[in-house]
């Protein structure tokens, strides 16, 4: 039994279909905008890739909360790692064979891989999670767009040679891997429980996504210093806004918020 409690279908103020549309369309638009705008106007605009990644991260986090509330038994982190594991293979494959259609091919491949793993999990290994097939396909696709989005923001292009030179050969792909995985798994892992609310969980997804964006900004400084500035500034702005929102939701959902003050001094204790 997962820490989420009894298996149940979660209540979602925003329906899953809307989230899929937001993540898929927003993510792909971001990736393509990051690629073409940096082609036309220079790498300054590569931060659009990270914005696409944020859309995908929010979608992934929403899917994680839907599937994990059934109690998958293995802990929330495992599903985030699975998302990014499939994401790496599918993203690099799509970009390597697809050229300009790379991101779309990557998403299709990821969806198929995710469906297969979901089917194996539910039918062969008898996990008994009703939405396992579609959810695994969704998180795989979200993980793929996350990888491509962050990589595009770092390299200023999603052509495989550019990604290899600027993200993979110098090892930044490890950062992309873990920051993408954490961003997808952390929102629900941090908010799970009987009082979990969709808006609170997703606000953490925005926080994590903006951290990924700031990291992408730091890395893209190696390609061109000017392009680091907008990515870092916009990332910081999203982070501040999302964190303020999150704090508001915490105060709304908490029974009471009290300050504990500083630690008592030794004289006060005795």
């Amino acid at each position: 039994m997962a820490a989420g409690g009894e298996p149940k279908k979660v209540k979602s103020a925003i329906p899953p279909k809307t989230m899929i549309a937001f993540g898929l369309i927003g993510g792909l638009i971001g990736v393509y905008a990051g690629h073409f705008l940096s082609d036309m106007f220079g790498p300054v605009l590569s931060f659009f890739g990270a914005l696409g990644a944020i859309c995908a991260i929010v979608w992934g986090a929403d899917t994680v909360r839907r599937v994990c509330s059934y109690g998958i038994g293995t802990g929330v982190p495992s599903i985030g790692m699975l998302a990014i594991g499939i994401g790496i293979v599918a993203a690099l494959f799509g970009l390597a064979v697809g050229g300009i259609a790379g991101p779309i091919i990557a998403v299709i491949v990821a969806t198929i891989l995710g469906l297969i793993i979901g089917l194996l999990g539910n039918r062969l290994m008898k996990m008994g999670v009703p939405i396992m097939e579609t959810a695994t396909a969704e998180i795989a696709a979200a993980g793929t767009i996350t990888i491509i989005g962050i990589s595009t923001a770092m390299a200023g292009t999603f052509e495989i040679t550019g990604i290899i030179d600027n993200v993979i050969a110098n090892g930044f792909i490890a950062v992309v891997f873990i920051v993408g995985a954490i961003a997808i798994l952390h929102p629900f892992n941090a908010n799970l429980g009987p009082d979990e609310k969709q808006d609170r969980t997703l606000s953490v997804a925005f926080i994590d996504g903006s951290i990924a964006m700031i990291l992408a900004g730091i890395v893209v400084a190696g390609v061109s210093l000017a392009s680091a500035v907008p990515a870092i500034l916009i990332g910081l702005a999203i982070w501040l806004f999302a964190f303020a929102k999150y704090l508001g939701y915490v105060k709304r959902d908490a029974y009471k918020v009290v300050g504990t003050g500083l630690l008592p001094t030794e004289e006060e204790l005795s």
């Binding site: 293995t74 982190p77 790496i88 064979v97 891989l113 999990g121 290994m125 495989i160 993979i168």
Partner: protein, 239 residues
């Protein structure tokens, strides 16, 4: 355009190695005693964290060890063996320190909740269980099981890494190292999660009744690793 058929024909051996490596990772996870959140509170046998984290810790250490040895040696067996030993040392020290915590910190005796007698030491287990728990700590059988699991995981991870690194390609060594390592990590994680799904997140190793489910994980792992391996070879061979 990439010559897919030729690429696969050239790298058939490596394709096989990747599938076997992924399979070993999936089997290895079944040996590692993980207790998840209950174990973190001393209420279940095993190390108190998730399967994936534990397998990743050991497997990635194995990968790093293999990669370090690869810098100075070109012998496939030596590289793979060092990956195996690296992972075994890592999982061994994790379980040892975990046991220190349970024994001296929590104050419980390592005992299994699944078997009455430890199959290796023949010690009675059920007398040492705290009421309402399913065991605690890492008893001898589980420890040995964990070492085997770490070894299999490291062996598999190192095999995948070595195979990916050896795929025929037209690019520089530095690019291939980056691609091979991140793809090896991805394949490692996919297999670790599949195995973790199969055992439902917690296990005591080979003494656990859930261990009988291994064949299901083998089928699932072969299917998924085969697909991932084909894609990985196309990625590395195609550039």
């Amino acid at each position: 355009m990439i010559d897919y058929v030729g690429l696969m024909a050239d790298n058939l051996l490596y394709l096989l190695l990747i599938v076997v490596g992924g399979l070993l990772v999936a089997i290895g996870v079944h040996f590692v005693p993980v207790g998840g959140a209950p174990a973190a509170m001393g209420q279940a046998t095993g190390v108190g964290t998730g399967t994936v984290q534990l397998a990743a810790g050991a497997g990635l250490t194995g990968l790093v060890t293999a990669a370090a040895v690869m810098r100075v040696a070109d012998d496939m067996l030596l590289v793979i063996a060092s990956g195996m030993v690296g992972a075994m040392i890592m999982i061994g020290s994790t379980m040892l320190v975990g046991n220190f915590m349970y024994i001296y910190g929590v104050g419980v005796t390592p005992a299994s909740g699944k078997v009455k007698y430890d199959p290796i030491t023949k010690d009675r287990q059920d007398l040492y269980l705290s009421q309402g728990t399913e065991g605690h700590g890492v008893p001898t059988s589980c420890y040995i099981s964990g070492i085997i699991g770490g070894g299999l995981g490291g062996l598999g991870g190192a095999m995948v890494y070595f195979a990916l690194l050896s795929v025929t390609n037209a690019t520089t060594a530095l690019n291939v190292i980056g691609l091979a390592s991140i793809l090896a990590v991805a394949i490692f994680f996919i297999n670790a999660v599949i195995a973790s799904y199969n055992i439902g997140g917690t296990t005591e190793g080979f003494i656990d009744p859930k261990f009988k489910r291994v064949p299901k994980a083998i089928v699932a792992s072969i299917v998924v690793t085969f697909l991932s391996a084909i894609m990985s070879i196309i990625i590395i061979g195609g550039i």
